[in-house]
Symmetry: C2
């Protein structure tokens, strides 16, 4: 598979094309230092041997920001360096740090906007990005990624909603000016030989926001300025965030948040049209800058086909890697049957929105990290009888089945479904032995199978097939 061929970015060779994009963990303390939980989270990813791990956004400007990492001073370097060293000692994965500047928000719902910044403030932000990128390099990271996506300062400068009347707003050139100054300053600081990636939005997904019309041009500018990769995200904006009384605004609570992390209601690869359009636009202008595609890339087949078609160079998988950090290793070793599959139910997203530590709903209760297991014995159906039944109740399908047992622990049950004679596909996973399927229509024959799996991803043999048809 092309997915497991090495990929070299300016001297940094990734062992494969799977990327863990930056994901907030809320595991650090308010002090912004790397602590044990943060370290373990990234070491757990490293154990799965993805090509590149992008460590969650760390702030370039310090200030109060809750449990988020900081890189705003040299005092943060030792903790970061220790984590990077530990990853490098145990894994072939490369490690980048994502760096971010954000503006002030308050519990009243008020927020500072880029309209409030002076031109001097913008120059200060560029200097802070540069100094922080320097610290990232000194901490031993292989690369740095500049956060220009979602609701944050540089994204807000790029936004079509940026109507500043001066040289930093309104026209597309002016909207790119601030982020361009950041790129230049960072490059001066880290040197020509250090990989500098950028993550930004292919679409803002808000009223009066920009679309591919602008983002293609923005990506081209980034490529011209020497970006070493361009990672495409979408949405995640303050403008449509839902304000909860007494809580600061959180930019993933509206529709643009849905578009940032497409749920089970979205087709696979829902945002791929953005990265592929941008990849084509860059190519048409003579730039081969690597492009990272993200957004519900659920299956190895889809990941591979994106690379085969040349629609992107690297595959970002956040939630799939949270559910099973061993995804790259398992797929590489031909053990796709052992994957613990993300259900795209966005419980991780909801935890983040509620300012709680981010974990996967599939993990064992209370666990702060995905389980590590050497268990090689798959679970068995109790009495050897899965006894799966499917019954129509009020226009929905109710599934029930028998418990399984495992020498260590049953982790959950995967439900696979075939609609209309098509191949079975992963529908969802649950911890109990009961599920109601709402995604059904009359006249279509549905077939269901259930498999129990343990923490290592060993699956039972499939259950009997339960068939049902609504009338």
């Amino acid at each position: 598979m092309k997915l497991f061929e090495p990929f070299t970015i300016k001297g940094m060779t990734l062992p494969n094309r799977v990327i863990v994009p930056a994901m907030v963990t809320r595991l650090s303390g308010e002090d912004g230092h790397v602590n044990r939980d943060v370290r373990e989270r990234y070491l757990r990813f490293a154990a799965g041997e993805p090509g590149l791990i992008v460590v969650e956004a760390m702030s370039v400007h310090g200030g109060r920001s809750g449990p988020l990492l900081k890189i705003s001073g040299d005092e943060f370097i030792p903790g970061q360096a220790e984590m990077v060293r530990a990853i490098h000692q145990t894994s072939p994965s490369r490690v980048a740090a994502q760096i971010i500047h954000f503006l002030k928000i308050s519990r009243s719902g008020w927020r500072q906007t880029v309209a409030d910044l002076s031109a001097d403030d913008i120059r200060t932000i560029a200097r802070q990005y540069a100094e922080s990128a320097g610290r990232v390099r000194r901490a031993g990271y292989d690369a740095v990624e500049l956060h220009m996506a979602h609701a944050y300062t540089l994204s807000s400068l790029l936004s079509l909603r940026n109507r500043r009347p001066d040289l930093y707003g309104r026209s597309l050139e002016n909207r790119m000016r601030g982020p361009g100054e950041v790129i230049s300053a960072v490059r001066s600081e880290v040197g020509e030989d250090f990989p500098v990636g950028i993550r930004f939005n292919g679409e803002e997904c808000i009223k009066d926001g920009y679309t591919l019309v602008d983002s293609s041009r923005i990506a081209l500018r980034m490529a011209e300025m020497g970006a070493d990769w361009i990672s495409i995200s979408a949405g995640g904006k303050f403008e449509d965030a839902i304000h909860r009384k007494g809580q600061p605004l959180y930019p993933y609570t509206g529709y643009s948040g849905d578009r940032c992390m497409p749920s089970v209601n979205y087709p696979d690869g829902a945002n791929l049209y953005m990265s592929s359009a941008i990849k084509s636009f860059l190519a048409a202008h003579g730039h081969g800058t690597p492009v990272v595609a993200t957004g519900k890339i659920r299956t190895p087949d889809l990941a591979e086909s994106i690379l085969q078609r040349g629609e992107a160079d690297l595959i970002g998988m956040a939630r799939a890697m949270l559910a099973d950090p061993d995804w790259p290793r398992k797929v590489r070793d031909g053990r796709e049957d052992r994957l613990v599959r993300c259900v795209y139910g966005n419980v991780c997203k909801a935890l983040d929105e509620n300012f709680r530590k981010v974990r996967c709903v599939l993990w064992p209760k209370g666990a702060l990290q995905a389980p590590l297991s050497c268990d090689d014995a798959p679970p068995r159906w109790v009495y050897d009888d899965p006894n799966l039944t499917a019954v129509v109740v009020e226009g929905r399908v109710q599934l029930k089945w028998n418990h399984a047992e495992d020498d260590v622990a049953v982790y959950g049950y995967e439900i696979h479904r075939s609609a209309d004679g098509e191949p079975f596909d992963h529908l969802t996973s649950v911890k109990g032995v009961f599920y109601v399927d709402d995604d059904v229509v009359a006249g279509v024959p549905y077939r269901y199978q259930v498999m129990a799996y343990d923490t290592a991803g060993n699956h039972t043999r499939p259950s009997n097939t339960a068939s049902v048809r609504l009338t």
Copy 2:
């Protein structure tokens, strides 16, 4: 061009494949009757000879609703019949009526939702749709279109946000139940031989809304139930509407409203991926039901290519037809050079949002209809000197030029732009002799030309070319 080949839907032969989708006009009185302004609006469309005109949504249930048409009783038939007769007497265009049910809204921002309806209420709505469809047929219309899009009752039943616990909500089958009952009732009423089209959303474009995952299945159900065409819209929902104090909620004011009527900030054909995915899905399930594509289909070339690729069967153009109702006739006669081009600035949308009569910003001041003109003499540049200049000011491009003159009246100035050596394309049109282009980036050579045009669409010769490059 395939665009101008006839197309037959169940015995109704459209003279070509251009459709005027239903567009609210706010021209009727509060009584819901067709008045002179409404009649003139549709006769003006008819003069351009599109294949099918879908007359704006008329309510099946009566009740207070501001200046919107009604078809809730037999008393509305004569006015409708007179308009349809007049269209048929003067134009080969076919005419359909769109019929709608909507729930109550108040100026406080409160709105009734489908959760408030009893199962009896839903059956009543189906009966009202059926009776109204019968009236549509008796009024002499060639077809009826059932409104199941945007923020209204049937769309809200289809919505993924419909969590009714009974047989009309939650599962996809249950969400389709109410709209399905409407289709059955309408068919029983109008008979097998009368064309019944459906318009619904390919995507809701709201938080927790449905996407193509569901809309493909919904379209298939509509096809199975004998829909004679399926017209794909998007968004336009209450859920993200912006409430203005003292005004009832209006469902096109949020992001989903942008997606319903993609502006200048969107790529051409921004919603085509929806209609083409649905067309493919229907074909894969053995249904050739005609699909109507809509959403910023700006150029004859794009319209034709959609048909050539088989991505849709019919091309809906609302705003382009509002700007120039003669679009079909002009393009058919090889007079594309005489088009009055929509600028996709959505002033028409803003008028609707502000509960004002819907007109095009390009029309002469105060006019309630697009001008009709037999003027064959194009405007001339005053002193034969267009004298177009382009100057960079603070990261934007300022354009100025000389006035033109015309024997009747200069209607406006079209600005064409070439970026990066690409062909000239229509950038926008203005009434004055000044424009600031914000959509510019440094390093790209831009060339501009201006042409004045009169109300018939006759253009001056192009101005001199003004070139500029930002640094």
